[in-house]
Amino acid sequence: MPSSPLPPIPGRSGPPAPGRAAPALPAPASAGAATVPAFDQVAVSVVPGSDLVVRMPGLLLVVVPESAPPAPRASAGLDGWGRSPGVRQAGHPVALGAPGPDRLAELVGLCRKVSAEGSRAPGRRLQETLGGWLDGQSAMPSLAVAAATEDGLAITLVGSALAQVPELGLRLSADEGDPLPDGTPRLERTVDWPPAALRLSAGTDPGGSPHPLADLESGSVPGGAAVLSPVAAPSSTGAFGPSTTAVRLPPPGAVSGPTDAPTPPVVSSAPPPRPAGPSEPPAPLPAPARSANLLAPAEPLPVAAPLPVVSSAQPVTPLVAEEADDRPRVHGFLCSRGHLNDPRVHFCALCGIRMAERTGVFLEGVRPPLGLLVFDNGATVNLDADYLLGREPDSDERVLAGELRPLLVVDTTGGVSRHHLEVRLHEWDVLVIDAGSANGTLVAAAGAPGWSSLVPGQAVRLTPGTAVRLGGRQFAFQSPHGGF
């Protein structure tokens, strides 16, 4: 390996600054990005200290906590406690932008937001978002952030922060970059993943090495420095198995949990070839994952208290409980069992009861998924958000802004544009809009005699069974809400 694996990637090393000093580190002989460990699989060990180390999917942050403790409030009216230590400072409001726990929380919140939106490589977006935020701050405490990009790390250093690879003698400090408006040193850089441990520190590095078994999987802990190991953590120490980081989609709403199990965003690979001949008797199915023999003597189970009797009656209007989440809301009719439905349907999509059983209660609630896109390779996409389909949907600004969810469509014929087609949910309708693609988009409603092409920018409503073709790929729209 080259001895200096921390070069800036050409064109990606932050805003170009005229007259800027040449990188302190020479360029490597070869790109080191051939085998990049997934960021969430590597171990992060924390060196004891008084700063704060925060790890979340895709990024690692070391920051010096606020320099001054908050002034105690004046304790007027509390007799017997003596003079309040805060009285001295009363009347001297804290300077705007001075470091404080609020600002630290804002910083962590910012990172968390980008981490949640940015799939497994939030680095570039974090650098942009953080850069913008830092420009508006003054007297920023020192901080160091390393975040994963597709092929390396995006590093931001502020103040006296340092990024070092001690084994290779590499060192980056904030002094090498563009300072913040108030003169605080700041460096933004995109680098290759070093082949040795990377040590991030914000303030004064306490020195010493971390405990060999220390590993921060996620969360915020006090520490003086964080050491990012160059290899994936062994499964015995790291709970971040490969499956947990395979593909991460932004959750559909603020409410996360098992209900928001994301759809795989990549509709990759061309459709599988059809079997040429008549189908052979297939190979036997794999055995069930778990099975037990009733004939074998069963181990007696401990006697448990009887479960409460659950009546089959279902509570009406569970909508109140869902007030808190910020998923899109629409107006619709409630079925007699309290499920929100499209005003045009005759049967509830969730439970099947006739919608006629209740006078139309027209109200607003959380919109259920409006249907599915079934691709020609069998992949299905649940329509619970707006999507942008294309060859590189990630690069669209509306995707970066979180307005559209990216859906990568891989097409070997090359007929799919980078930003090809928008699928938007409007009230209870699913609309497709050609995003100005090079080769256009074709649609055919169920039973239509042929394809018709979309006018770019013009929305067309999909009816169940409509087929849509972009480049060499095709999908069909299907909906459990019935054909109307």
């Binding site: 459709p271 199915l285 037990a292 009733l294 009861i353 006078t359 027209f362 299905t380 459990p480």
Partner: protein, 509 residues
């Protein structure tokens, strides 16, 4: 756009006081500003039950002005066609109905098979001659039934009788007769409700609704995934679409005709597109042998299925079972219903051939048991089954639930209102209790009567009410009873013959 949750009292709307009052006077409605429309007979529901009854009465000489059909449906068969289409019986496929059960023709002649024969398909004529011994029962195509009904609808000027809207309740009127409260579509009328004051009311609201099984609803609520676990009575074309693009394993649950149709669709697709679809079929009750309570009441059974040509033994429409049930009461009647009930499916040669091929080649396998729980694992659904071989766990690309649980009649609010406020009761099977004339027992009010037909009355003196022929038999009983009260002319031999010729010449009446 949205309206407040508790709207202020609007002129022409119901009030709590009115809803709590069992018997209404004309003055109460006037106080509330609800307009009243007078008409001798109101039928609501507006499906095939209302259509067949209106048809019968029109043929008995009742003018269109004397009948009002209150319905939210566009056409009488709209709801029925929706359910048959999504459960894989589109217009080109065959229903499970007899040749002579013709809802467009009260005489049952010419039958569907004869009509197909007259159009040149002589094979169908031969079929009805030799069925069921030498051939499977003839059944009409869904499309044939719908187009024939459309023709009859215009012949009897049915659209003139239709008022669009949703019926909220029926209440007795002080002094005789009833008020039927209609909620017209928003903006269609100046008041929120309209009352129809009539001497007779006919209730034909059909199935109160389906009830998807709790495990299916639970799965959807937890995963927000409406695509992988579906009920056969809802649109689920995406399941077939997905299997066409990518080979997969499907779990089919249920042993009725819908399960048969879903399996046929899966295997048809498998053959046509040369797919490698694997099917696991889950029976709750596995029928291995012929079964029944007596030598004359045997029902065929094999390979898990209980076989029967139609959904009831044929003698319920005009044979010994009809006679037997007509004379029984209470628990005895409930027992008879239980005997002839149960999930079953017709024997059809193409289905037999497909399934035996699947068994031989190993892509159709059967399990016995019930689903414990379903969880989403990636793109697949992991299903835990408590089977007769112990607990089993499998992953499937799709689960198609072909069990149709019917909701209780109380889930239909008009029926619930009849039970709560108008004196209606339940029969031994738990549905609406009707007399032999299909009058709802306990609701008579002065000179007024309420009749009911269709699925809501299952369990009465006549079984098979939820079939085409059952609706016609109910319509006949109702028309006879109305004639006895002076409404409509008697359908004697003369009128019947002349009316048949009018039907045959498609002459508007």
């Amino acid at each position: 756009m949205g309206q407040p949750l508790a709207p202020p009292p609007v002129a022409g709307d119901l009030s709590d006081r009115l809803v709590a009052t069992d018997v209404w006077t004309d003055g109460m409605l006037a106080e509330h500003g609800i307009p009243v429309v007078d008409v001798p007979l109101v039928t609501f529901g507006g499906g095939i039950g209302s259509f067949v009854t209106a048809d019968y009465l029109r043929i008995c000489g009742v003018p269109t002005s004397a009948i009002r059909v209150l319905t939210p449906l566009e056409t009488p068969w709209q709801s029925y066609e929706y359910l048959t289409t999504v459960s894989q019986i589109p217009r080109t496929e065959r229903l499970r109905s007899d040749s002579a059960s013709t809802p467009d023709n009260i005489w049952g002649f010419p039958s569907y098979a004869l009509r197909e024969g007259l159009q040149g398909d002589l094979k169908q004529l031969w079929n009805v001659l030799v069925e069921p011994i030498w051939a499977n029962y003839y059944t009409p195509r869904a499309g044939a039934a719908f187009t024939a009904m459309e023709k009859e609808m215009h012949r009897i000027r049915y659209p003139e009788m239709v008022v669009r809207g949703q019926v909220r309740m029926v209440r007795r009127r002080a002094g005789g007769g009833y008020f039927t409260i209609l909620t017209p579509p928003q903006g269609a009328a100046p008041t929120r409700r309209i009352a129809y004051r009539s001497q007779w009311v006919h209730v034909a609201v059909g199935y109160p609704g389906l009830k998807f099984l709790d495990d299916l609803q639970e799965y959807r609520k937890q995963t927000n995934d409406y695509g992988s676990v579906v009920n056969a009575y809802e649109p689920h074309e995406h399941v077939y679409e997905k299997l066409r693009a990518k080979p997969g394993v499907v779990l089919v649950r249920g042993g009725g005709i819908v399960a048969s149709r879903v399996l046929q669709r899966l295997i048809d697709d498998r053959d046509r597109f040369r797919l490698d679809t694997q099917i696991v079929h889950l029976f709750r009750t596995y029928t291995a042998t012929p079964h029944g309570t007596g030598i004359l009441k045997r029902r065929k059974g094999a390979d898990g299925w209980a076989y029967q040509g139609f959904n009831y033994p044929k003698s319920v429409w005009g044979g010994q079972l009809k006679q037997q049930v007509r004379k029984t009461e209470g628990a005895e009647r409930a027992r008879l219903y239980k005997e002839m009930g149960g999930t079953n499916t017709p024997v059809r040669r193409d289905w037999q051939e497909q399934l035996s091929r699947g068994r031989a080649q190993g892509w159709y396998r059967v399990m016995i048991g019930q689903i414990d729980r379903m969880t989403k694992t990636g793109e697949l659904v992991e299903v835990a089954v408590a089977s007769d071989q112990g607990p089993q766990l499998g992953s499937f690309d799709a689960v198609v639930d072909c069990t149709g649980l019917e909701a209780d009649i109380r889930e239909h609010r008009v029926l619930a209102d009849l039970l709560d406020h108008s004196g209606a009761g339940r029969n031994p099977v738990g549905r609406l209790d009707v007399e032999r004339t299909f009058e709802v027992r306990g609701t008579r009010n002065g000179n007024g009567r309420i009749y009911a037909s269709g699925s809501a009355t299952l369990g009465g003196y006549f079984p098979g009410v939820d079939t085409f022929l059952g609706l016609q038999i109910a319509a006949q009983e109702i028309a006879d009873d109305l004639h006895a009260q002076g409404f409509g002319s008697k359908l004697g031999p003369g009128r019947s013959t002349s009316q048949w010729w009018k039907w045959f010449r498609n002459q508007q009446i």
